[in-house]
Each structure stands twice: as structure tokens, then as C-alpha cells.
Symmetry: C5
Subunit: 99 residues, 5 copies
Amino acid sequence: MFLGRIIGTVWATRKDENLVGAKFLIVRQLNLDYSEASNFVVAVDSVGAGVGEVVLVAIGSSARQTAFTRNKPIDAVIMAIVDKLDIVIQQSELMTSKN
Amino acid sequence: MFLGRIIGTVWATRKDENLVGAKFLIVRQLNLDYSEASNFVVAVDSVGAGVGEVVLVAIGSSARQTAFTRNKPIDAVIMAIVDKLDIVIQQSELMTSKN
Amino acid sequence: MFLGRIIGTVWATRKDENLVGAKFLIVRQLNLDYSEASNFVVAVDSVGAGVGEVVLVAIGSSARQTAFTRNKPIDAVIMAIVDKLDIVIQQSELMTSKN
Amino acid sequence: MFLGRIIGTVWATRKDENLVGAKFLIVRQLNLDYSEASNFVVAVDSVGAGVGEVVLVAIGSSARQTAFTRNKPIDAVIMAIVDKLDIVIQQSELMTSKN
Amino acid sequence: MFLGRIIGTVWATRKDENLVGAKFLIVRQLNLDYSEASNFVVAVDSVGAGVGEVVLVAIGSSARQTAFTRNKPIDAVIMAIVDKLDIVIQQSELMTSKN
């Protein structure tokens, strides 16, 4: 799963018939310090998440393993809302080589 | 799903027998301001989309979850036509670190 | 699917028993002006394609949705031979931001 | 599979109903010298791994092939804890071209 | 599939119960001139390949389509050992634009 923040919504009235009722959310990928990475995906919500929330997104066939998304042409699903990150090992402790 | 714009068509008469009737569209990936990213995919249309339209594309096994694409060697499908994007949180509001 | 050109062949006599008879082709990814991108994949042919031809390649589980590739450890298949690209919208028409 | 180190935990009380009991771990990808690469994933543990350990992560539908993850919206699983790497061929022995 | 060279082994005694007996090999991706690319994967062997050999690797669900890997949390498999590459079209013949 990747970490992201919901920043908006995609409106699409013409879509596959199985997608009626789907909520397409724009999720920008986050780094571990909550800064935004440059890429985003459009994901379907399965947990009642809203704009501004930090979430986990599952992609690929795993995105179809929820009650709403099963057997639908959906390749990204929001399956958890993040309360907090508990980062025990900081990057500086381990990094010795330049990346 | 990713956001893209249909910019053209691929003509292919010799193809897998299950692909007869498939419409191969060239979809260039879009950024959130509708500017074009550098990559593109060839996707099959399942919603009657045409050149110039902004669409959502599902990839992988999820691309086979439509009536037309099921059980076919297709890894990208256009499953929605975008009316508009509603971006509530601008990147500048959240970004504090350089990316 | 991605656009590619077949540039050669991989010879492999020791392989999974279900791969006997598979033709492994080296496919270099192409840009829309037919210039070559830097990456390549090894794909199995399902349409009688040969070296020099421009083709479409499907990857992942979709690569197993042909008569020959079904249930085999193959993650890329050539499923169409391209006659021509019909690019209606040029990148310069749409691009306003630097990418 | 990719090589990674567990550096922390994600807390998420609101999640898909099938994910109750899932332990979401933050895994940073490692290079072969154990230095950290820049990307990370959130993976579910299936082997009792803990923070600081070096592990293997399987992604995609393969992440659902464990007793705990089956049929769940999970796209990354920790399926092995690494004892050691035995690198026989050093990169300097083979590399002649600039990468 | 991608082209790689086996450069070492991963030892992991604590792993998913279905992975007992799996041989985890470190495979560095190769360019067409056999120089090494910077990325690597850990793959399971299904063809008796050993360190130093040039191989093909299938990833994703296709990695589970061998007798040994079926239904296991494995996302990369060595399914062929390469005898030789027969590259008919050199990049210099086709390239006209800078990549």
C-alpha cells in the first residue's frame, strides 16, 4: 500500500455501468514526513474517507477485494484511514551512503 | 486509475482473435492542471470515448473487468470520461519540503 | 499496452516445461514518433510477429489471456501488429507547462 | 520480491472490515549494501517480523497468497525475514559500461 | 520478462510456511549488452539456475504459474536460462532522436 492524502474529486457521469455510485478521489502520494510526492492516482473510496484525510491505497487486483469494488474495473482503492505513523528508525540512523 | 487525454488511434489489423472490434486509443497521461506528462499508454475503450476527451484509465487485471474486455489480452481500459476535476487542496497549501 | 519494436530474439533451451515452443522476442519500447525509448522487455509472440515490426505488448496477467500463453509463467505478450498510428492531437497543441 | 527494512508502523482504526487485526508496517526498500533506497511501502506482516528487521516483501496479487492476507485488499506482504545476503558476484566484476 | 544475472542468494529461515524449500536468488537486471542496470529483484528459481547465469524473470501473478510457485506468496520467478541474445536491429540504426 502507499501513503497518500485525498486532495479532490473526479466527476465522471459517463462511465462503465458497474461504476455507478463509485466515488473517485484524487490521492496525492505522501512521503513519510507528510510532504507530498509528485505523483497521484485516482482511487475509489471504500471506507468513507474525505478530502484532506491521510489514507492507505491498495492497487492492482488487490483493489478489487472490497465489498464495493469486487469485479469492477477499478485498480486503486482507499482501504484505510491513517491515524498516525509511528516511525521508530529514522533514515539518518541507517543511511551511510548517498542515495 | 490515472488521468489521461485521448490523442489518437492505433490501427492494427493483425491481432489476437479475441481482439476483433477492439478500439485501441493512445492516451497521454495528464497532470492535475491538464498539462501532459511524458508517458502514454494504448488503452481499449469501453465507454464510447473519443479523441480529445479527458478520461480515466484502469490498468492490469482490472482492465479486464468490463463486458468487452473480459478474458482478453488487454491491460489498459478507458472506464470513465471525466467531466471535471474538483481539487480542494492545492499543492502549495501542503508542501513545505522541496520535492 | 505499450508500443514497441521487435529488435531480436532470446534463445533459451532450459526453461519451464510449459514454455516449450515459446518464441521469446526482445521488444524495445517506442515513443510516438517511433524513436526508441531506453527500456525493453522480453515478450512471447502470439500473432506471428517478426523482427523489425512495430507491435503492441500487454503485460501482467493480461499477457496470459491468449490461446498459447494461458496458465504459463509469461508476463508479456505481443497481441497485435501495428499498421499505423493516427495521432490527431499533437503534443505542442496542448502543452503549456514545462514537463 | 524486494529487500527492505521495517522502520515503523501505521495506525489506522477506520479500515476495510476484513483488515481488522492487520499489522501495517512501513518498509523502506534497501540496496544490496543495506543502505536505504528512497522509496517505501506499507506492507502487512505474515511472519511475525518487527521493527528493524530486514525482510522480503511480495507485492500485487502474490501478496494475497498467505493464510492471513487471502481475499483482502492488501497489495504488499512481508513473507520472509532475511538472515543474510550471500552476494557472490560483485557489481565491479561485471560492470564495464557506465550506468 | 526481464533479462537478469543471478549474483547471489538470500538466506531466510523464518518465512511463510508454503515457502519451505524455496531458493531465493538475487537477480540484477541486465541491459542488452549484458552490462548491469542498477535495480535488482529477489526471485525464486524454478529451472535449476545458479549464480552467474543469465536468466529471464517473470513477475506478478505470472510468477505463480510454475509447479513450485503456484498459490505461494512469490512475485518473481526465474523461468528460463538464457543461452544467447540475437539482436538483429541495433539501436543506432533506428535512433534519430536523443533519448
